[in-house]
């Protein structure tokens, strides 16, 4: 290295760090990469929401449902979660498109509130499972709802979105993933 070039070392080190920091600043620290991407879904079985009848409401679902082939979307929601209310129309939209089975994981909710919420906003889910203590949610690595998972036909988690869905995210993130899995 020539003597002149050595004076450029601090500048280049600075530039490399500046690029790293610039990229780092655009990332939201609240969004944690899921440890479960490309892993099989956890083993679980969720009952339907208790509505006083023996069969309950929402059918319930278990890990076996995901291994039958076909793409599934699992949306973690609760009546106490305000952003869930905001994303509800987009879950409904996704459900109406019939591109994937849409499961609702009712996280740490009371049956009464959950039923009221579904009655008021509508029930877009193919099946709902109640997780009143949040144990299954923890097995799915849920830490801040709403969270939405896309699961492929073999029961592998392919994609996870943390936060409320909106038109843009549905169009540009969720649907392309489903399209890709279909091929």
């Amino acid at each position: 290295m020539s003597k002149r070039a050595i004076y450029l070392v601090p500048l280049s080190v600075f530039l490399v760090m500046a690029v790293y920091f610039a990229i780092g600043l655009t990332k939201d620290p609240k969004i944690i990469p899921s440890a479960l991407i490309d892993k099989l879904i956890p083993e679980f079985s969720l009952p339907p929401i208790d509505n006083g009848t023996p069969q309950g409401y929402g059918k319930g679902f278990s890990s076996a449902d995901f291994k039958a082939g076909g793409i599934s979307v699992v949306n973690v929601f609760a009546s106490w979660c305000l952003p869930c209310r905001a994303e509800h129309p987009f879950i409904t939209k996704l459900s109406k498109m019939n591109v994937a089975k849409v499961y609702g994981l009712n996280f740490k909710d009371t049956p009464k509130n959950a039923l009221k919420w579904l009655q008021e906003l509508g029930d877009p889910y193919d099946a709902i499972g109640a997780d009143p203590r949040g144990r299954v949610g923890i097995d799915w690595g849920v830490y801040g709802i709403p969270e939405t998972f896309v699961v492929d036909g073999t029961g592998k988690i392919y994609f996870k979105y943390v936060g409320p869905l909106n038109g843009d995210i549905l169009e540009n993130q969720i649907l392309p993933v489903i399209e890709k899995l279909k091929r």
């Binding site: 944690i32 479960l36 949040g134």
Partner: protein
């Protein structure tokens, strides 16, 4: 108004206060050895909602759930490592407040040492060059003298040169 009794009352009031623990008494295990292990494990696990608190410190709901899970696993006979692995399997390395030493974190662990080492090397090289050669640009008075002393002495001036010098000095004068 006398302030004495008032202050005394305030001070006595302090006796009723207690530190606010995130860990609720009903979560604690009856076995003090297991409880101690649980506390130690909890201190190393990040609360994913508040991020820079451990689940041992945090009042968040998820932290409470994780504390209970840690205790349940310990009661089921898991080793400390197995309990940590259980949580990491669900939430990834990010839950560990101390990142593990492995391939993807090599830069994180060794980066500062490498950069520090390079800096030290550059500094030593710089100092060596400037004190070894002496002088240079601003090597200090001492170095300049040393340099001058080490230079071979020039031959003495001849008579012709002395005359020339005297003439030049005169021209320069007033």
């Amino acid at each position: 108004m006398k302030t004495g009794p008032f202050i005394l009352a305030l001070l006595l009031g302090l006796l009723w206060t207690a530190p606010a623990w995130a860990v609720n008494p009903d979560e604690m295990l009856a076995d003090p050895v297991l409880e101690k292990r649980a506390r130690e494990i909890s201190k190393g696990l990040r609360c994913l909602v508040c991020q820079n608190q451990s689940i041992d410190d945090s009042d968040a709901d998820l932290a409470k759930d994780l504390r209970i899970i840690v205790r349940n696993r310990l009661k089921a006979g898991d080793s400390d490592g197995a309990v940590v692995d259980y949580v990491v399997a669900r939430y990834g390395d990010f839950v560990l407040l101390k990142p593990p030493f492995k391939g993807t974190t090599l830069v994180l662990w060794l980066g500062p040492a490498v950069i520090g080492g390079l800096g030290l090397w550059a500094m030593i090289a710089f100092l060596r060059r400037h004190s070894g050669q002496g002088g240079g640009q601003g090597g200090g008075a001492q170095a300049a003298i040393a340099k001058a002393a080490s230079r071979p002495r020039p031959p003495p001036l001849t008579d012709d040169e002395k005359k020339k010098l005297r003439k030049l000095l005169k021209e320069d004068g007033p």
